[in-house]
Symmetry: C2
Subunit: 347 residues, 2 copies
DNA sequence: ATGAAAGCGCTAACAG
DNA sequence: CTGTTAGCGCTTTCAT
């Protein structure tokens, strides 16, 4: 391994001079600079940034914690984060926790052991108390899944978004509306369920317990829920699901049963992942401003890095209903394409 | 920032003793150990791993370079990599290059500046010469997209896989078979195209240039290709696509046109991402052993880390054809579900 | 403009 | 069992 010392020796200067050249100090004569540069090239010397970071007490590395990489939902968010981070010359690295507390902890320790300068959680397993404690000493921001922890946060108003979606369903004339949610209660899940209930109550519609189905964020959950709902004496005419993956399962199962998603049963998804616009029929869903969510979250993180004692902020970004075929009563014109996902590339 | 010195002072011992306690040396009396542990707790001291890594000349951090996070294809691969890395107590971090050479370079420099111990490329932008050069001095492995660079590599036999798929189509009676590929030629793209041609030639079938469509890895490409193919005097009866995303677009466009994917036009995808089994109709595709690909790639990387001069290896793992509705001639039984994706969770 | 030297926080001999 | 000390590779005064 070539070190600064090797370069200094070879160039016949001191390590300090090499360091100055490396860091672009102007207090080096052009002749010396050239000679040093040549030797650096010759020895293909690369500085050990571990050391530089140590001296400067920063790594310029930011961590993004994802529960999983398989969800297309995160793609735009991460892009927004990266764009913002790059402006301040920070690198981002994605850590996948698989919703495993130990894995999460191991990545968090990268922060507390100074291997990274900050973390954005897209979801976290640790409890509020633990997160709050870390957030008091290290830059941390929550994005999309915001708990009661004392951190800066960015998300949409999930309650309001669900409320809007269900109200939309009601305005379409639906009165028996089911909900398919997850057993595991993420903050967004809780809020979306609350929005569902609020919309139902405000329109004096009963929330029938048999119309409430729970599972995981999977299309299998959607398929099973569909079966369960269809088996009821009086099935719902519409279903609000808290995730596109579940909605897709619902739609698929309806198709298998020979039913028409939309006319026979309206289906609402959530998140506007690409599959929602891709599916046939296309699926009505709630879109989040993903890129902006990421960009904003990173902005807050950078602020925390500059000043750890800056006050915590909570930002809510606007959501949008994307109406497509799965909530469409009349499907004679089956060629109608819903709004397209903003992103073309899948790889 | 609390340092080992603070702890030593407070505990009335030397820094060496604190270091010993931290590293679990047994040459510390139980009394001292307890006292030190207490102070560590009291001061909530966290060692600066930057320094420890510096001393040990390792970071125990491995980089995985992805062109994009949005492709569901990578999920299982990364999981396999992680599982293998964990066995040797290495952390993995995912770097998203967006297929941008500069971004890629900035992450590679993490390796050459010793901020990471190795890299697995799931795709790379740099040319073979550059990659080979880096690989000579630093642990690097290519996975799935293997170029001519001098590195260890793991992938499936893309040529053979495409050959098998197209041969399957031919065995189904198809003679006019189209191919939809990408303009950008990844190694896998080149091999899949070669496999397509080989199968056609070996069965004495002409490769009609008008039946060759090129675009990006997007469903829009599939939709457009479908239109172009349908506009032909004699459209193909089957289409081999080099990616599920493209296949989905094909299928969707067929549905929009009121045609039946399968009976009216057979569609072959590639990769077996979840959407292939999810779509209605489900899509026939080539499955790769994703988890194993990742696990194996990481295994090779770890070997390189232990001994940088270990010989480069190239491993080919077996692929599998997953037959579903989109290549099914008779679809009277539309409830038939194709093989399911191995993974249930989407988040 | 350049060099010598003092650390950054920690580990690992080497003494005792 | 414990302390002292010499670095790890680099940056940054402080002299010259």
């Amino acid at each position: 391994m070539t070190t600064i010392k090797d370069v200094a020796q070879r160039a016949g200067v001191s390590v300090a001079t090499v360091s100055r050249v490396m860091n672009g100090s102007n207090k080096v004569s052009e002749t010396t600079r050239q000679r040093v540069l040549e030797v650096i090239e010759e020895l293909s010397y690369r500085p050990n940034l571990l050391v530089r970071n140590l001296r400067k007490a920063e790594t310029r590395k930011l961590l993004i914690m994802l529960p999983s990489i398989s969800n297309q939902f995160y793609s735009q968010i991460v892009r927004g984060m990266e764009d913002r981070a790059l402006l301040d010359r920070f690198n981002i690295m994605v850590c996948i926790t698989n919703s495993n507390p130990e894995t999460e902890q191991s990545y968090i320790s990268l922060l507390t052991t100074r291997l990274a300068d900050g973390i954005v959680f897209l979801s976290n397993e640790m409890d509020d108390e633990a997160i709050s404690q870390i957030a008091a000493a290290y830059p941390i921001v929550q994005c999309c899944e915001c708990t009661g922890a004392k951190t800066s946060k960015v998300s949409i108003d999930n309650r309001q978004a669900a409320y809007d979606a269900v109200s939309h369903l009601i305005s379409l004339g639906h009165r028996r509306i089911a909900m398919v949610s997850t057993e595991k209660k993420h903050p967004s899940t809780v809020d979306r369920e609350a929005g569902f209930r609020q919309a139902m109550e405000e329109h004096s519609l009963a929330v029938d317990d048999r119309l409430l189905q729970y599972g995981t964020y999977s299309f299998q959950t959607g398929m099973r829920a569909c079966e369960a709902l269809l088996a009821l004496d009086s099935p719902p005419s519409a279903v609000f699901t808290i995730a596109d993956s579940i909605a897709v399962g619902m739609v698929k199962q309806l198709l298998i049963r020979g039913l028409r998603p939309g006319p026979d049963m309206a289906v609402y998804g959530f998140d506007d992942t690409s599959i929602a616009s891709l599916y046939t029929p296309s699926i009505t869903t709630v879109a989040q401003p993903r890129y902006d969510l990421g960009y904003t979250a990173m902005d807050l993180l950078l602020r925390k890095i500059k000043e750890i004692d800056s006050p915590n902020q909570t930002l809510l970004l606007p959501h949008k209903l994307v109406i497509r075929e799965s909530t469409c009563g009349d499907q004679t014109d089956s060629t109608v394409l819903g709004g397209r996902s903003e992103q073309e590339e899948l790889v």
